[in-house]
């Protein structure tokens, strides 16, 4: 290949481009098919954006049309000012960021020791974690409120963060556990030879290695916290100024009617950060650990 390329560069380059195109062809076909599927996939999302710029009669007379006749920006004004979405968005961001950090760190730590160490009580912890994994929990809010009140956690964002990070997915711990268990033992040994202690090994070597898991865990916790409803509701009964976006969404529904355009606008506002985060985090799924191991 190289010698030919040196002697007859033009024809070879053409040939290789053609063959590369040929090799890539199945991928482009797949891409085309996916593109079609994706339109169907994101349709309800597009509809939401469209609806946020329509009037109420337009939403229901147009059925599935996405494009508004003339954009009604007032809907956003209503969501932002009347429904206090600006304020709520700030609260939601604070709560979500804090919760995500706590949950990710605590899950990684627990997953690390459960995955790497054998110790007395490990099995008990594991059994409890797995046993509670599949219990329906929607109705356990009453004891949660009960204990939050006894610990004086109500009516503060701090309390909300603590409760939310306590109720987060146990599965994340298991995810980290599975990941750390599969990291070659030599890595630990070499770290120990370098004189790294327990904490250094974890924070400097292991946690960076687990970047793809951390990315997933961040996203999942982000989603759950962002959309959490009952806990933020309870924690802000006496402090409406601390409400989060998902609680604020209630302002759009009345006894017999719902302000659909306002709700769509609210939904669009609250969706934006989620989508941005996803777009950013994607990089970590792509880069993966290959680079991290080398460093």
């Amino acid at each position: 290949m190289t010698s030919i390329a040196r002697t007859a560069p033009d024809s070879a380059r053409q040939r290789s481009r053609a063959s590369r195109l040929l090799r890539r062809l199945p991928w482009w076909i797949a891409a085309l098919l996916l593109a079609g599927g994706c339109f169907l996939w994101i349709y309800p999302f597009l509809w939401t954006i469209g609806a946020s710029l329509k009037t109420a009669p337009e939403i229901f007379s147009d059925g599935l049309d996405v494009i508004p006749k003339s954009p009604v920006w007032v809907n956003y004004g209503r969501a932002w000012n009347d429904a206090h979405f600006g304020e709520y968005l700030r609260n939601t961001v604070i709560v979500t960021v804090a919760t995500v950090i706590i949950v990710v760190v605590r899950s990684a730590m627990a997953g690390y020791v459960l995955g790497r160490y054998r110790f007395r009580g490990r099995r008990v912890v594991l059994v409890v974690l797995v046993a509670t994994l599949l219990v329906p929990t929607g109705y356990t809010i009453i004891p949660v409120v009960d204990i939050a009140q006894r610990l004086h956690l109500l009516n503060s964002l701090t309390g909300m963060v603590i409760a939310l990070s306590g109720g987060a997915h146990v599965a994340l711990t298991l995810l980290y556990m599975g990941y750390f268990r599969r990291i070659p033992t030599e890595l630990f040994e070499s770290a120990q030879l370098d004189g790294a202690g327990f904490l250094t090994t974890f924070f400097r070597i292991m946690l960076p290695l687990a970047t793809p898991v951390t990315a997933s865990a961040t996203l999942l916790t982000f989603l759950n916290t962002w959309n959490a409803f009952f806990l933020p509701l309870v924690f802000t009964f006496s402090r409406p100024d601390l409400r989060t976006v998902s609680v604020g969404m209630l302002a759009f529904s009345g006894e017999y009617s719902t302000d659909w355009p306002g709700m769509a606008a609210g939904a669009a506002i609250s969706l934006a950060p989620v989508i941005i985060l996803f777009f950013v985090l994607q990089r970590y799924f792509v880069e993966g650990i290959a680079g991290a191991v080398k460093n």
Partner: protein, 482 residues
Amino acid sequence: MVELNRRRFLQVSGSLAGLAALGACGSSGDSAARNYLTWWDHQGNQKSLHNKIFTAFARSSGGMKVQYTPRNAEKMGQALQLAKQSNQLPDVHTNAGLAIPVPELIKAGWVAPLDLDDAATARIRSSLLDGVHVFDGKVYSFPQFNFRTYSAATWFNRKLVAKAGLDPDQPPTTYDEFRAAVRKVGRSGGGVYGWVWNGGMTERMEDQVNMLAQAAGFEGGGGTLYRTGEIAYHADPYVTAIEFLVAMSRDRMLMPGATTLNDEIARSRWAAGSAGYFIDGPWCPGVIRQSFPTFADSLGVGPILLPQKGTIRCYAPPQGGTFWLSPTAAPKQRKAANTLLGDYFTTKEYFVDLAGWMPQPPLDLSAVDKSTAYPSWKKLVGWMAKQVFLAPSPVVGNIEVTKAEAESNDVKPGLGDIVQGALSGDVTNVRRALKDLSDKASAARENAVRTARARGAKVSLDDYAFPNWRPGTDFTSDRYHG
């Protein structure tokens, strides 16, 4: 290992203390320190009216700011439950989703007696009933709406009806006329359906079918015959009404997807012009005015449907109170709440304003004419005033009945479920399903009465029977022991 365990214990308890300390910094919620009233309400539709009142009250002498939270009606009950659990009940609240008998609510500390001034009490005295608003001689709440109402009026789109060659001023009144009218509209083209309904909402349908059955001649309410107290869902009027609805659906006169729609979406689609007729309560135009103002000209209404031509007679129990005071409200808030409720929510001006929002008919029906309500709403409220009579209520007859109610469990499948099942084809023998429901509901009631008696309540099955009840009359307080 011992060492480890002790360490661990210290860590755990240390973190717990840390948690508590962290939380304590932000905690504040007791009403004594506040300088405003908290108010929860499931009637978000009247937000503007309430805000107007609250602004006026805040400016008045002795007034106070009100922090108003409109809540989703469906989630209100659960929100109240959690608020109660955490000692954070709002000073004033409505009771949507809190269907527990009031004496139980009083006992459990949900509601406290009002202390309205004499002028306010005088304005509402005639509508107060023992066992509904008054307990142990104390007034706990008062109604905002009139009991003369039903949830199954025949609303229609005048333009579509006219286009189909029907007279919008002669709405259908019988099952056959309705069927013919719906068929005409459905065949008038343009992808328009004859009729759309809230077929996905079993509870609303239950209420509507109860009303249709009364109009069809059922001499009772909610399945119970007034004279004997017998539960008879399987009586002819119920079967007739349900079979009429099912036949309409089977003959494709009901918009096909309507069996999954809730009232909001069904109403929105109707107002967007996809169907001619829509069966709904009196609150329909209120929603139209707020969300679909351009539809106002097309709004037409007919009374509840009858199997054959005749006089409409429906019965409704007394309307309960709307706003309730929490026992946890501090004296300052309590005083303000009483002034606010008494001075602003009992007056003629209030009912005129309220009628302008076109919810249910206001307590004071004479306010309707002076209001800015749509003509179609005024017309409907006028009909209801003549067509709906006060039903007897076991609780008013004997307050101890509430103790049996507290013991009684829901029976499933209920009436609404059966109607939905009949529409979807899952219930083929309607009468047998209704008979089943009657039997289960009777058994549940007997069981509840027995349990309540065993716990010392003075209640019996006779409390559900009112032998001196007569059709087409109001069962006023004086008739309970006559």
